[in-house]
């Protein structure tokens, strides 16, 4: 049953960066249920970025499994992983999320360019982009504005709209609120979750800031789910 199966499931995933100062990450088990919002807390250097790269498929585990939905990411070719990422995952970064020279609308619609199924789900794309912007509290006239001219807070909302469009089953957010002040952080998450819950989208957010914990369904610590080994080769 797709509804009960986890959207994200890592099992004994192991990744070792190539190179002399080698760093190895081992994730024995990590699961996200559908429409669940999870905060993953971890210090810098704890392997968060490596974990996100594994989930997004820009790198693949040398052993173990990384599943998104029913698909083992490692079983796909590099090109297929790119398409798969476009279809399945909405991404929000810490900052500099947007193409500054492009309009807000083009930024929001960009992932649909590489994901035909998401494009179909979004139907009337531009209307959907407008709806999301409105739902995320952006002014109506923002669509034609160049993204680089917006404030950081507005840019993060545009990035959220871009992650939400075409309702991907999973949203990965990498410290999306770290450049926002406390009040804006909380509003941002409220608006994001309102949309993600409406679409049954799961959210995995990585942060070092435990104050946000209340707003999530579940909080996990990097230290509890993963071991990282830094060995001076």
């Amino acid at each position: 049953m797709p509804d009960t199966a986890p959207i994200l499931h890592l099992e004994n995933a192991r990744y070792r960066w190539p190179g002399r100062a080698s760093f190895e990450l081992h994730v024995p088990a990590l699961s996200l249920a559908r429409s669940e919002t999870v905060l993953l807390l971890g210090e810098s250097g704890s392997g968060k970025s490596t974990l996100l790269s594994l989930i997004c498929g820009t790198i693949t585990a040398q052993s173990g499994h990384v599943r998104i939905g029913d698909t083992d990411v490692a079983s796909l070719s590099a090109g297929q992983r790119d398409s798969f990422r476009a279809e399945q995952i909405g991404l929000i970064f810490q900052q500099f999320n947007l193409l500054p020279f492009a309009t807000v609308q083009d930024n929001i619609l960009l992932p649909l360019q590489f994901a035909p199924n998401r494009r179909k789900r979004a139907q009337a794309r531009q209307a959907e982009a407008v709806r999301l912007c409105r739902a995320l509290g952006l002014p109506d006239d923002v669509m034609g504005v160049r993204a680089g001219t917006l404030s950081v807070g507005q840019q993060q909302r545009v990035a959220a709209a871009r992650a939400l469009i075409g309702t991907p089953p999973l949203i990965i957010a990498d410290e999306p609120t770290s450049s926002l002040d406390a009040a804006t952080q909380s509003t941002f998450l409220d608006l994001l979750f309102a949309q993600s819950r409406a679409n049954d989208t799961s959210v995995l957010m990585v942060s070092h800031d435990a104050r946000l914990a209340d707003q999530f369904d579940r909080v996990i610590h990097m230290n509890h789910i993963a071991t990282s080994v830094r060995s001076a080769a």
Partner: protein
């Protein structure tokens, strides 16, 4: 949308991109301009003489005959006797014939003796006739008509006296028989501009008192006496011939070349011009080579610009990757950018060329007598523009491949 984003990215870097496009545009304009000048020069060259079917002279080489009779370069090795001239003139195929007699000079310009018919028969630039900008065709024995360059260089106007020197670069002058300028010709862009034209009889008249290249001591016939004399020349340098029917040209040429009383040579001006152009034309290849190098330089400049932009654009590429773009999309994006720049540059270059032509056409025509026609772009020019765009795509592959490798390594996690 990808195209729009590529455009947006270019506009965001307007200054460097603009400079690159400008460099490409200038190089393309230069290349096409050189092409225009080259074809214009070739056409002008071929248009030096038209309407003349045959040029007849003493036997030498066809290029040599063309050079001294039309371009006033070098000297005739031999003359053509008046009897032979009459024989040719009396042939039934001949519609008209104009004798020319060369050998004297005024300052650095050649003096040519001919008949008034020369002004009707000499045609250039596909059938244009000579026209006077001032004065009239020579009327008196000692009247001279000068070309536009002669008038401009020496600052002559109607009525000025001029003294003809015997031979070329000579110190002995026909001082006793000065000429009067009766007319100044319009600029033609042909060697006529650099010629002093007098009547055939005048050439005879100034040599009446001369023998073996020197004036007989103490002897100087007064002008009034000369005017009464029968001044039929003994010999002329060459003759321009028009035939009644073009079909007869080759037959006439052959019979002149086989003329038994005197070794003569008849040439088709067009053919001889072609032969001459093959000699002159080597320079055109060098010119094309140099301007092609300028285009290559501009393209390499573009490659350098793309290279230097790669680092600052890692974030942009990472965003594309995160949104699911494959590395080859990054590659395609950079190549697309280069093609856009080159295409804009090429079109702009074409625009610059036409703007330059509009402004420069009359100036170039009056200064150099080079007529550059303003025509829609030719197929050849189209191919040149396409080649520039294609070359830009190839050149941009080098930075694009680097971006491809960078985006593979960076993935979507770039921290700057």
């Amino acid at each position: 949308m990808i195209l729009r984003l590529a455009f947006g990215s270019l506009i965001a870097r307007a200054l460097t991109v603009g400079m690159t496009i400008l460099a490409i545009a200038l190089s393309v304009a230069l290349f096409l301009g050189v092409e225009k000048v080259r074809t214009g020069a070739k056409a002008s060259f071929a248009d030096t003489i038209s309407g003349t079917d045959l040029i007849v002279g003493a036997r030498s080489g066809s290029v040599q005959l063309l050079l001294y009779s039309v371009f006033r370069i070098g000297n005739a090795t031999n003359n053509l006797t008046w009897e032979s001239y009459q024989d040719v003139a009396n042939r039934p195929e001949v519609d008209w014939i104009v004798p020319i007699s060369l050998g004297d000079s005024h300052r650095q310009f050649r003096v040519m003796g001919t008949t008034p018919e020369f002004f009707e028969r000499y045609k250039y630039r596909s059938g244009r006739s000579l026209a006077l900008q001032d004065g009239v065709v020579m009327d008196d024995l000692f009247d001279a008509v000068i070309g536009a360059d002669v008038a401009a260089t020496l600052g002559y106007s109607i009525g000025d006296p001029i003294v003809v020197a015997h031979g070329l670069a000579s110190f002995s002058e026909h001082e006793d028989q000065p000429f009067r300028i009766s007319g100044i010709l319009e600029k033609t862009g042909t060697p006529v501009d650099r010629t002093v034209i007098v009547s055939l009889e005048a050439i005879e008249a100034i040599h009446v008192d001369w023998q073996n290249g020197a004036q007989k001591p103490g002897q100087s016939t007064p002008a009034d006496v000369l005017r009464q004399m029968d001044l039929e020349p003994q010999a002329i340098t060459a003759a321009l011939v028009g035939v009644k029917s073009r079909l007869q040209v080759f037959a006439l040429q052959r019979s002149i070349n086989e003329y038994s009383q005197e070794p003569l040579l008849a040439i088709l001006p067009g053919v001889a011009l072609q032969e001459l152009w093959q000699i002159v034309g080597i320079a055109e290849t060098a010119l094309i080579g140099v301007s092609a190098m300028v285009v290559v330089t501009a393209l390499i400049g573009m490659m350098a610009t793309i290279f230097s932009s790669l680092n600052e654009r890692r974030r942009e590429m990472a965003i594309f990757r995160a949104m699911g773009a494959r590395p080859r999309v990054i590659l395609a994006l950079l190549v697309l950018e280069a093609v856009l720049m080159a295409a804009i540059g090429a079109v702009l270059g074409l625009g610059l060329l036409y703007a330059g032509l509009m402004v420069g056409q009359p100036l170039i025509d009056s200064a150099f007598g080079l007529w550059l026609p303003i025509e829609p772009p030719t197929m050849r020019e189209g191919w040149v523009l396409l080649a520039v765009i294609a070359a830009s795509a190839i050149v941009s592959m080098i930075p694009a491949l680097r971006a491809y490798r960078m985006s593979l390594a960076d993935g979507m996690m770039v921290r700057i």
